[in-house]
Amino acid sequence: MRPQPFLLTDTAFAALGAGRPDSDTLDTLRRAQLSRTLLLLREIRRRLPHTPAWYSRLTTAAPDEANRLIADPMTALWAAQALRAGNEATNHDLPQPGLPLTATAQDQILGVRVEDSSSVRHGLGLPPSAPLTTAERDHWQRCLDGAWQILASRHRPAAEMLAAVLKVIVPVRPDPAAEGISATSSEAFGAVAMSSPAGPAALAVGLLHETQHSVLNATNLLFDLVRPGGGPGYSPWRDDPRPASGVLHGTYAYLAVTRFWRTERTAGGGSGRAAEFEFARWRVAVAEAAELLIGGGELTEAGARFVAALLDEVRPWLAEPVEPEIERLATLARTDHRLRWRLRNLTVAPDDTAELAAAWRAGRPAPAVTSVLAPGTGRALENSPRLRLVRSLVKGQDAGQDEFAADGDAACVRGDDGAALRAYEMGLEKERDHDLTWAGLALVSPRPALRSRPEVVKAAAMAAPEAPVDALADWLSG
């Protein structure tokens, strides 16, 4: 046996980076994953003194059937878990297949399995749900039918990719902090963990998002795209700091999400303004994240080529006209996220904070201080009451009618910056240690220090509680 490396032409590699892999490239990724699982199974077998039942099954099956079993994402997940766990687990049989679900639209078929009882399903990283009831299974089937209708009729290339990659859905418990959660593991190409979908469009975009992760995981097996060792930084889709490899994953997944909404906003499917908002919000986030990756110096040669192709794909979308009010709300949502991220994850060292307070009290100019990452804040999904108000407004609902909305937030989202400013300043007079209010203030304040480094203004305000916030922000903006 003289095994050869996998080869991709530069054209195919760039199309992969642009999120448009052709069928030959997808076949390459599938063969790479099959090779990966074969290596894991070989290693497990070589460590055992006897022949386990799973090995006999795989080696006596017809070649196509053996390959089908070995290429299954749950087999790959089982093999990874068994190898990590050791001897006892390697004797267990392969996981039993779950419930088949099929959707057909526009002569395109999507066949998946819902794995709601497999013993290895927790390996996708999110707490799995209990086995589905009949009503829950019917809900998944209805959502899958609707999602597939949307994808097959309006997103044909994405639908073809999904049909080629997606094999398994693992239902997971909902996250109270999120409105819908999903995950992918590099150990199970073609498997997606997902909470019960809100509806067909949410399922469609969720599956596209997660399938992109699977495709990037498979690409990472073939090519190192990011050099190891870099520190974490800003990611527009997470509230916690992420390494460059994580930012690349998000950028690639949101490229597909952005493309989905770009098509949906003109599709007349009833989600026009919401689709326009999502498109306007994510096109800039994807482009900016790609530019930061390229400028960050952590990409390999292959990674730089991959991300350049990604950026080439999204850049023309930035010039496409969007309704001004939607653009305003999209910019607000992006800026709000960046400000909240800074307040959550960046801090000022105690010595620098003390120096700020001393300089303020002595009437000296503000000293230069550097923001640093706050220790271990953990994984966090985006969760913002202002974003919920923005989405309500996009749908045509009056943000001021939300009885749970803070006055500042309702005014901010309406575009009444003066009223929002007053409300946020009053809020901070009552409670200074409240990041959402600081981020709201920074959104509507004319003071540059609040926009660029809200965490520094907050640190100074906490250290000098007698100082008016607006005066401190002016001092730090000078």
Binding site: M1, P3, Q4, P5, F6, L7, L8, D10, F13, R31, A32, L34, S35, R36, L38, L39, L40, L41, R42, E43, R45, Y55, T59, P63, A66, A80, L124, G125, L126, E179, G180, I181, S182, A183, T184, S185, S186, E187, A193, A198, A202, G206, H209, H213, N217, L221, L222, F223, D224, W237, G246, H249, G250, A253, E278, T300, E301, A302, R305, L381
Partner: protein, 62 residues
């Protein structure tokens, strides 16, 4: 690893650091003992050892 390229501009072809053994049977591979297989296995098991958090976090609210 930069895909084993020769350097000097964008290559016409990207060569993976992973080998293609998809045409072999599991039984054949169990009997085989080559440095290429050992190297490929290390790449795969290194990834297992690095197992961190899943790629998670899509908030599909619309």
């Amino acid at each position: 690893m930069d895909a084993g390229q020769d350097g000097g501009g964008t290559p016409e072809e990207w060569r993976s650091v992973m080998i293609d053994i998809s045409g072999a049977t599991l039984a054949e591979l169990v009997e085989e003992d080559t440095s290429a297989l050992a190297h490929a296995l290390r790449r795969v098991t290194d990834e297992l050892d690095r197992q961190g958090e899943p790629i998670a976090g899509f908030n599909s609210a619309i």
